[in-house]
């Protein structure tokens, strides 16, 4: 599944510093595309260097043909000028083409790798990270990398090369003028840095205020009915005045910072221009500079200042992108806590004998959920598990399908430790139907067969019929092709449960069925359908039902009573009644309740 061997192989990156891990991630991502990327880089350098040509040609024109009154020389220079402009445009497009063509592919590869890596993780990973966070990794963080590649890196390289080329050419043409023109450069850099920081701080403040306003409005809008019915309007208005006023103040503060910065910049560049004009003018009069040089330097200095301004802007973007890259790298390094065995034992046709051997399990250390569960279930037997909330019933199901591994003990299926089986074989042999089953957006059909193309229409119908789901499906407007809305919003809980049962039958036709029975939220009609379907299914295969109905228990071969992570009673209905323990008390109490 993970198509990149570097991820699944033994981790060769242990002990590497974080920056190095980042470098490794970036290198790994762009490595397959090094040829076009190198070409893009060369084109970029060439484009940036061409920036020095136009002012130089202008200087040549003023000092040459214009001074000598030579129209043919002038046309030649103008032609060169146009040629350099066209060449720059073409080179720049070629650069963008090669860079983006490979860069966007590299990023798509990375997205693919990240998504595959996320699906590979075990369930406790998904408890640790919210789906929102994972989506953020997959979208926002990789987008930040995309920006880094297509904008920041390009800007930094272009501006860097341009700045260096311009400065070099300036010194080559006239070092005195160069010193004059570039004298303000350090000042420009310092001022920019100073203001960027202040602006960033104000802009953080503005964003904080904006999100406070938004959070307040969100809450008020959601609770509007209460606010109106409980007549809180005046208080809310006053509160909003507070938030809104803070936001206004933050906006004005940010505005002030940026307006000051822009004005100071204009002053500095004007100062540079005036200096150049005065001292350069002296040079022209004294003969150590020409008029053309002076004009060219006005343009050169503009070409040197722009990169300085932009480069300081990039620092922040690069920081953001690196933080994103670090988060992505972190995700790519995560190893599933339930590992696939190195050399899985093949599992022939499953019989369905199950054994729990002294199993201890906790989701969180020191908060044991299962405490020494030992249990043998014969192939074909149907077992009902009952017990109060928090007894550990659902955890049994999670462990059997290896959504989690126990801290101690072993679980065997047909005499084979499940840790030695491939996850694929194991999950083919064990089908778990959760209490509140989920649906994906798609058709009824795709909700039963999921993405398994081997399950044809006949198999889907058969599974639905066996699960008693066919009745309600065939009454739907488009039968099996009816669209299911995300989360199954257009189906009742009972219908979703029937659908989940059909899915389990279709995708695991012979395996062990583990069913977490729904509590009372199911409509009466579906309830009856589920009961008769269960009766039928339980006879054909090994099954473990976490039961909430007496009817279900009556259909089971054997009953297990759990309490606080342990099995406290185990036996048939008759045996347990005879035992006179918890189960007997329950049964007698409920049997006496008027029906």
């Amino acid at each position: 599944m993970a198509n990149n061997p570097a991820v699944t192989e033994a981790d060769p990156r242990k002990g590497r510093t974080q920056d190095a891990a980042l470098g490794w991630l970036i290198a790994q991502t762009i490595a397959p595309y090094w040829r076009p990327l190198l070409l893009a880089l060369l084109l970029l350098v060439a484009t940036a260097m061409l920036a020095v040509v136009p002012p130089y040609l202008l200087q040549q024109a003023i000092d040459g043909p214009l001074a000598r009154h030579d129209p043919r020389g002038l046309v030649a220079i103008a032609a060169w000028y146009a040629a350099s402009v066209i060449a720059t445009a073409l080179l720049q497009f070629a650069q963008i083409y090669f860079l983006q063509f490979s860069g966007q592919r590299a990023l798509a590869d990375l997205r693919h790798r990240l998504f595959a890596q996320l699906l590979r993780q075990s369930m406790n990973f998904f408890a640790e990270y919210s789906v929102g966070e994972l989506i953020q990794r997959l979208t926002g963080d990789i987008d930040a990398l995309s920006t880094l590649l297509s904008s920041s890196v390009v800007t930094i390289l272009t501006d860097g090369v341009t700045l260096i080329s311009v400065v070099v050419v300036m010194f080559l043409v006239n070092w005195k003028l160069a010193l004059l023109a570039l004298a303000v450069l350090p000042l420009l850099a310092i001022v920019t840095r100073f203001f960027r920081r202040r602006i960033r701080r104000s802009s953080d403040g503005e964003r904080t205020m904006a999100s406070r306003v938004s959070a307040f409005l969100n809450e008020q809008l959601n609770g509007m009915l209460l606010i109106q019915l409980y007549r809180r309007e005046a208080t809310s208005t006053k509160e909003y005045e507070g938030y809104n006023g803070d936001y206004r103040a933050a906006l004005i503060r940010l505005r002030k910072e940026s307006a000051t910065f822009l004005s100071v910049l204009e002053l500095i560049t004007a100062f540079a221009l005036a200096t150049l004009l005065y001292w350069g003018g002296r040079g022209v009069l004294a003969g150590w500079a020409t008029l053309g040089m002076l004009v060219a330097f006005v343009q050169y200095s503009d070409r040197a200042f722009q990169p300085v301004l932009r480069l300081s802007e990039q620092y922040n973007n690069v920081q953001i992108a690196l933080a994103s890259a670090e988060r992505v790298a972190h995700m790519l390094e995560a190893e599933p806590s339930v590992p696939e065995p190195a050399a899985p034992v093949p599992l022939p046709a499953v019989q369905g004998a199950i054994e729990f051997r002294d199993v201890h399990f906790a989701y969180i250390p020191d908060e044991p959920v299962l405490r020494g569960i030992s249990l043998k279930i014969r192939a074909g037997e149907s077992v009902a598990v009952v017990g109060p909330t928090g007894a550990g019933k659902s955890s049994l199901a999670g462990l059997l399908a290896r959504f989690y591994d126990p801290q101690a003990g072993a679980i065997l299926i047909d005499g084979q430790d499940i840790c030695t089986l491939s996850l694929d074989d194991l999950r083919h042999a064990v089908a778990v139907v959760p209490q509140d089953p989920i649906c994906i957006a798609g058709t009824i059909r795709s909700n039963i067969a999921l993405y398994d193309s081997a399950i044809n229409d006949a198999a889907v119908c058969e599974a639905a019929t066996l699960a008693n789901a066919a009745q309600f499906i065939e009454r739907l407007p488009n039968s099996y092709e009816t669209e299911v809305r995300p989360g199954g919003a257009n189906l009742s809980v009972g219908q979703r449960q029937l659908l989940a049962l059909a899915r389990a039958i279709a995708l695991s036709p012979t395996g062990v069925l583990v069913l977490d029975e729904a509590t009372s939220s199911i409509d009466t009609a579906s309830e009856a359908l589920i009961q008769t379907a269960l009766e039928r299914i339980l006879r054909t295969r090994t099954s473990i039902v976490i039961a909430h109905r007496l009817t279900t228990i009556r259909n089971a071969d054997r009953i297990i009573v759990m309490e606080r992570g342990q099995i406290v009673e185990d036996g048939s209905h008759r045996e347990l009644l005879h035992l006179g323990g918890r189960y007997a008390r329950l049964y007698q109490h409920q049997a006496h309740t008027p029906a």
Binding site: L74, A79, S150, N222, M224, I438, H548
Partner: protein, 611 residues
């Protein structure tokens, strides 16, 4: 350009006119903006002229002090520009912040009076986006857009005049170039925008796919669907990557185009202007002036087109805001609204409620004496909550009358009506403030004893020690730190602390365990002040919650199909009796898990009489 001019002419019809009321009292601001823009842009427009003159003087070999004069002149112009542009930016900023502050305050006040139907029509998400994102567009237009537009327009006009004086021919070339550049921006800008929309749409699809499959990851893994899911992801990812590549490549061609046009024009200006210089029709300084203008004015054109875009966005946003601002509240006080003391008699006479062309409720008639308890049952969608909403005047009926103490609810002041009743909605929503503030919501200066009494009645007192700061505990957003049952009991305490004459419980005990629920119900009917019993309406899914009510209304598809006491309805043998029997059978089949827990109650508490 023509489009922009046209836009200004037709401004009267544009949504931007809704901003006018907020500017009316600030004529001085608009005048200020205009003056600052005129002075700043003029200074900016004259800089290349001064530079050109200086170059010409240098060529003629002038004396040093004159060079210094030109340098100083450049500095003075730059300082003028810096100061006035700063003033313009600050003034437009203050103006934008104030207009959006005032408008947003009005918007919020409007939200507070709008009725349920309007909320349902727009949806909370839409209203929130209007209240936040649309105001950002208004701010952006006023702050940056307005400022850029003013400055750049003045700069463009003065620059063109100065150029025309120097050389009409070159001015024409420059002007033509600017038009080409503008056309390129406007024409291809649309292409880019569409392309970007496609990228956004594909991104949303990809994100939704990932979201769905990561949410259902347990199922994906349970049925070994990881590989096919990744393959399906690759399809959406491919669509996204293709559209994104298309966008960046198009952008790579289009974005630098205006700049390239300007630079090519520079070559033309150099050739034509150079020829003029050689023939003596132009000075070198003027030629340089033209080259500098090309860059400066192109920048102005770029800013105008950006500002125009912001104007359009701002106008659209203002239109969306105005749509809400100009909504009249459908539930408001009648001009002759009465304020009377309310005792709690509730009647409905032939009440019907229509939504679209569907009747949510029809022909509802009942008369409930002050102090009675009424149970309302029915399937999901039968109209139970809607019926409670009519009593609280969340909506008004389409036909018939709702009478409180014999007065049409529409004739009662909202203050009176809502002051006398309290509703506990289905979803118990808590605000992110202290538990006490949540309970005393909308009241001020409630004595502690009164709060404690309500908490006792709602059976919340036992939970307080578990909370870090008791009543002062700050409730996490949407009540995240409390359990479902605790939230519902807080919502009940909130209703009880007001000691309402009429109490409406909309399935408000669903998350509260049965024993506690029966205790709460037992205490509900008596009012704190001892001024007799209060009228209580209980909507519930659970028949046992309404069993001891004075009257039970059975709703089906918006109409009352049975009405009577528990015993009467059972004897009648209709829907209620059938539901009751079904419920009994199901309750009996359900395993009472507390019976398995060594310590649990084995008695079904709902069966014990609360009276």
């Amino acid at each position: 350009m023509r489009k922009i001019a046209l836009y200004f002419v037709t401004m009267r019809g544009s949504s931007i006119r809704y901003l006018w009321p907020y500017l009316r009292d600030h004529h001085d601001w608009l005048v200020g903006c205009l003056v600052y823009a005129l002075v700043g842009a003029t200074a900016s427009a004259f800089s290349p002229y001064v530079l050109g003159r200086a170059i010409d003087e240098l060529q003629r070999g002038l004396r040093l002090p004159v060079v210094a004069e030109y340098a100083v002149a450049l500095l003075v112009l730059a300082a003028t520009l810096a100061i006035f542009r700063y003033l313009l930016r600050m003034l437009t900023g203050a103006m934008a912040a104030t207009v959006s502050y005032e408008m947003s305050q009005d918007f919020f006040v409007r939200l507070l009076v709008l009725d349920r139907a309007t909320y349902a029509e727009f949806g909370t998400g839409d209203l929130l986006s209007r209240a936040t994102i649309d105001f950002i567009y208004v701010w952006r237009f006023f702050s940056a857009g307005f400022q850029m537009m003013l400055h750049s327009l003045v700069l463009l006009v003065i620059g063109c005049v100065l150029m025309a004086f120097a050389s009409p021919l070159l001015a024409l070339i420059v002007f033509g170039c600017l038009m080409v550049s503008l056309t390129v921006q406007v024409r291809f800008g649309k292409v880019l925008e569409n392309s970007f929309d496609r990228v956004q749409r594909n991104m949303a699809l990809m994100s939704a796919f990932a979201q769905e499959h990561l949410t259902t990851v347990r199922m994906v893994k349970a049925y070994r669907q990881e590989a096919p899911v990744v393959a399906a992801f690759d399809t959406v990812l491919g669509d996204y990557a293709r559209s994104n590549l298309q966008f960046v490549l198009r952008s790579g061609v289009i974005t630098p185009l205006p700049g390239t046009v300007v630079r090519l024009t520079t070559a033309v200006v150099l050739a034509v202007g150079g020829a003029l210089v050689i023939r003596g029709g132009l000075t070198v300084g003027q030629l340089v002036q033209f080259i500098v203008y090309l860059g400066l004015l192109n920048n102005a054109v770029l800013q105008i087109s950006q500002a125009f875009e912001r104007l359009q966005q701002g106008a659209a946003a203002t239109g969306r805001i105005a749509e809400i601002l100009h909504r009249g509240p459908r539930i408001a006080d009648a001009p002759d609204a009465q304020t009377i003391p309310i005792t709690g008699r509730v009647q409905m006479r032939g009440v019907g409620l229509k939504a679209g062309n569907r009747w949510l409720l029809h022909d509802i008639t009942f008369d409930v004496a002050a102090g009675s308890t009424v149970g309302i049952i029915g399937a999901t969608g039968a109209g139970k909550s809607t019926l409670l909403g009519l009593i609280a005047r969340v909506q008004d009926p389409s036909t018939g009358q709702v009478l409180i103490d014999g007065v049409d609810a529409r004739k009662l002041a909202l203050r009176t009506l809502r002051g006398a009743l309290a509703i506990v909605p289905q979803e118990s929503l808590l605000f992110s403030m202290s538990l006490r503030d949540n309970i005393t919501l909308g009241l001020s200066g409630v004595p502690d004893a009164q709060v404690e009494q309500a908490i006792d009645a709602a059976r919340l007192s036992n939970d307080l020690p578990q909370l870090p700061q008791g009543l002062a505990t700050h409730v996490g957003e949407r009540g995240a730190t409390l359990s479902g049952g605790q939230k519902q009991r807080t919502a009940i305490a909130r209703a009880l602390v007001r000691d309402p004459r009429i109490l409406l419980l909309d399935d408000a005990l669903a998350s509260v365990d049965a024993l506690t629920a029966s205790q709460i119900i037992a205490g509900l009917a008596s009012s704190r002040a001892g001024a007799g019993r209060r009228t209580t309406f209980i909507v519930s899914q659970h028949l046992l919650a309404v069993r001891y009510a004075d009257t039970i209304l059975v709703l089906d598809e918006g109409t009352i199909i049975e009405q009577g006491t528990h015993d009467e309805l059972l004897a009648h043998g209709g829907r209620y009796a059938a539901l009751y029997e079904q419920g009994q059978r199901r309750d009996a089949d359900e395993i009472d898990e507390r019976a398995l827990d060594g310590t649990g109650h084995t008695e079904a508490p709902w069966l014990t009489t609360p009276q």
